[in-house]
Amino acid sequence: MTLSDLWLLIAAGFVFLMQAGFLCFEVGLARRKHQPAVALKNLIDWAIVTTLFLLIGFGVMFGDSAGGLFGVSRFGGDVGELPGGFDVQGLTFLLFQLTFAGTAITIVSGALVERITVAAYAVLTAAMAVAIYPVIGHWVWGGTIGGADGWLRDLGFHDFAGAGVVHLTGAAVALVGIAAVGPRLGRFGADGSVRDFAPSNTPMAALGTVVLWLGWWGFNGGSAFGATADVPLIILRTNIAGAGGLLAALVVALVLGDTRRLGVTMITGALAGLVAITAVADRGSLLAAFALGVIAGGAAPHLGRLLLSLKIDDALGVVPIHGAGAVIGLVLGPVLTGTGDLGLVEAVVVQLLGVGAIIGWSAIVGGALMVVLRRTIGLRVAPSQERLDADDEPTPTPVVDAPRDRLTEADLADLL
């Protein structure tokens, strides 16, 4: 056990703590009736990911490459020795990557809360763990621990800690999920109005944001894969980008006089800034990191409003935070913080190609799965489970169901 092992194990713990952050964030922003289901879905997805990513997903992501597309070895937790240059054990690396997979997958739940069934979400989670997240991970990070590079990595695509692999993948699957599941009942009026679905507990969401923020220190700091001299600066860049995002969201809202749900706006800005810097936390000055956070945090809340105007009910702002934040980080990040071995234009083109590929694969596989689930097991909970009572209290479970007005053949002859 080396010092780097110890740091990566601690960082993995920080990233796992993000599960608690997501849980608080989502429970706080969901409506009260749905809090228990939201919390339980977050627990369930971690259990599924732990099993499937460890057995299958890790091999697809980091196994020997089949043409740069997916891995074909290292299944069943058989990581083996890491190549020279790594100061950590294979199993430490596996644990760290497992917490990353859990993060990518739990991002999706936030967009679909209050209406998706546990069964449908569980199937989606399984697909994410074996076929969506690790395939994209292989494209970007395949070859990190040996074998040929993934095709995007080979082109020079830069995604330091997973703005694309983790956050954009989660956001893209969330977006197709929203399209398949549809908006929450009553969110959009027939007259074109958008109804306000107030968060049940904004302080809880703020606590979740703080926990996520702390987790990000491990997320990005751990991505150095060792206790190196770079770690403190990586964490500082991460921190200041989150701060820039929050402050920009606040200032823009105040300047525009858009102070409704200011707490949620600030949370959105902070998280978008943290997502953006994840792409380039290994590069550039603190000022550049702050600027990137400002851009992402200033823009994300407004993308959320744009989605609402398009009648896209992204319940907890997953697409603005994780999607817009990631795209800004991946595309503008290298412009602000440096482009490594590539020229500026070439770097931007490669980054755009990577963004398109990540969105494409996530949308195609996730979308196809959602269509199948919709037609077979169904995606949504019963309308009666989804609706709130007038006082927003949980609906009492009926002891005896009221008799329904069952139809007969004779009735239908007149009615159809």
Binding site: A190, T376, G378, L379, R380, A382, P383, S384, R387, R404
Partner: protein
């Protein structure tokens, strides 16, 4: 006004616009209704089945 129809599948519901419901074959609609697998919604609120079918039979959307 009926704007959505929730159709129960094996483990959950499929929420479709009323136009999609109207495009289903009459036999398919009959089967779903007899199996008590359909819930009609107006602005998110449930509408009694008979009332909903009466409305859809006479609505401009159906025409």
């Amino acid at each position: 006004m009926i704007d959505q129809v929730a159709i129960r599948r094996s483990l959950g519901f499929d929420l479709v616009p009323v136009e999609d419901w109207l495009e289903l074959e009459r036999e398919e609609k009959r089967r779903l209704l007899l199996e008590d697998r359909v819930e009609f919604l107006a602005d998110g609120e449930s509408v009694p089945v008979r009332e909903a079918l009466e409305e859809l039979r006479t609505s401009p959307v159906a025409a």
